[in-house]
């Protein structure tokens, strides 16, 4: 049982450390993460993916690149679709989602484009998507509290066990 717990603990530490390093690297490289909220880019990107987007000069963009752009209404919402045509003179792109292939009604100008998708990771986006839903927030809060309680209890148990083992060891020594 101790061995299993140790393996789980180590795996958890590795994952957390790995994600920490990932965040550090993308931040240093100037990329920003977005959680994919719909399936319009299936099969390339699914809902729940995290895409890391790097700012790219307009001249370096080309047809076929997946970019994240702000909506014309400029309310902070963005969309991530594939470039289907690009006008370097007008600095304008037309995009489409992979799933339907329908060209988006809005074209995007250079100032709307946040950047080109550098890479994506599945599933990690669900946390932020869930947190926009009040029901999910409650579930996550309860989950965190449970984890904290279990960790506290496990820590107490381990501490008592260690103290108990130490007492036994010193008694044996005295005997």
């Amino acid at each position: 049982m101790d061995k299993v717990l140790r393996i789980l603990r180590n795996a958890f530490c590795i994952i957390v450390a790995g994600l920490f390093v990932l965040i550090a690297v993308v931040t240093v490289c100037g990329a920003k993460g977005y959680s994919v909220a719909s399936d319009s880019m299936n099969p390339e990107l699914y809902k729940g993916y995290v895409v890391f987007v790097k700012e790219t000069p307009f001249e370096e963009l080309k047809k076929g690149d997946i970019v994240t752009a702000e909506f014309k209404v400029k309310d902070g919402t963005t969309y991530t679709h594939r470039i289907v045509s690009i006008d370097y003179d007008k600095k304008e792109i037309k995009t489409a989602g992979d799933k339907t292939g329908l060209v988006d009604t809005e074209s995007a100008t250079a100032d709307q484009i946040k950047g080109k998708v550098w890479f994506s990771i599945p599933l990690l986006g669900y946390l932020s998507l869930w947190l926009t839903n009040a029901n999910y927030v409650a579930v996550i809060a309860i989950f965190v509290l449970v984890i904290m309680a279990v960790s506290f209890a496990a820590g107490k148990f381990y501490k008592n066990k260690t103290r108990g083992d130490k007492n036994e060891h010193s008694e044996e020594k005295n005997n």
Partner: protein
């Protein structure tokens, strides 16, 4: 550094990293959305009916005439119960233009024995209330949505009485010499070839009628039957003369390739209909004529 201190540092680092990671991924902005205000939305149509059955109307008519008439003879009372008018009306209840082609093929014996016909399209523009029909079709696109196209047809058959269509046909046909059968036949052949070689387009909500008038021409009948006595039975009544003729009305997408493909299809022995259509075949009705 003691083991306990190392453990504490490790523990604190882990917690701090965990908090940072969870915070980072919790606060990501959502992206990716469906636009779906595209003007090409719903532009995908399925011409399902035309994929499966392109012949709207197929019938081998058995045309029965009471006698023969002489179109070229202006003294003769034309269409003395010897002309049959067939009207096949087609209505486009679908969402895309339909091209209608008529193909009339009398059998050889009928032709040799004097069967003549005149065919024309009669277009009727019908005002239909606007529906939620999709907009223009993008070239070559298809959808998996259920089809909304259909062209329905009704047919009527009526016998024409005396002189009903004499002036009408004479005005429609460019007859060089109305006194001879050959010139009349030539004009008829030219007209029919033009109509059958062309088509009418029915837009959504519109109707078109294919009108075919059949009659039996006097001179060929006489040539084949010898004399007028051959027209009468023992009681002195006019005998009937029967002809076979294949009538085929085809509907297809308004594209040359679609029509060519439709006409290539083998003829069906019975009249074809769509699920939601019905053919109203009326019995022979008599047209009242004022002489």
């Amino acid at each position: 550094m003691s083991t306990a201190k190392k453990r504490t540092i490790k523990y604190v680092s882990l917690v701090a990293s965990l908090i940072l990671v969870v915070s980072y991924f919790s606060l990501l902005s959502p992206t990716s959305a469906y636009f779906y205000k595209s003007e090409t939305q719903n532009a995908k149509l399925t011409f399902a009916m035309f994929d499966v059955e392109q012949t709207l109307f197929e019938n081998e008519e058995k045309l029965k005439f009471d006698g023969a008439t002489k179109l070229c003879d202006t003294e003769e009372l034309l269409f003395d119960r010897v002309a049959i008018e067939k009207k096949i009306t087609l209505k486009n209840n679908g969402d895309a233009d339909a091209r209608i082609v008529a193909d009339i093929t009398p059998n050889d014996e009928a032709v040799n024995n004097g069967l003549c016909y005149y065919v024309e399209f009669v277009e009727e523009k019908v005002s239909e209330p606007e529906t939620d029909a999709p907009e223009t079709v993008a070239e070559g696109e298809e959808t998996t949505e259920s089809s909304t196209e259909e062209v329905i047809e009704t047919t009527t058959t009526s016998a024409i009485k005396k002189g009903d269509l004499k002036e009408y046909l004479e005005s429609k046909l460019n007859i060089s010499d109305s006194s001879t059968h050959d010139s009349v036949q030539s004009a008829l052949d030219n007209h029919n070839a033009t109509v059958e070689g062309s088509y009418v387009i029915i837009e959504p909500g519109e109707s078109a009628t294919v009108r075919i008038i059949f009659w039996s021409e006097y001179d060929p009948v006489m040539d084949n039957n010898g004399n007028e006595a051959g027209w009468q039975n023992a009681g002195g009544n006019i005998k009937n003369i029967n002809y076979s003729c294949n009538i085929r009305i085809v509907a297809a997408q308004d594209r040359d390739e679609a029509v060519a493909e439709a006409l290539k299809e083998e003829t069906q022995p019975e009249v074809t209909t769509t699920e939601e259509t019905s053919i109203e075949e009326t019995t022979t009705e008599e047209t009242t004529v004022q002489q």
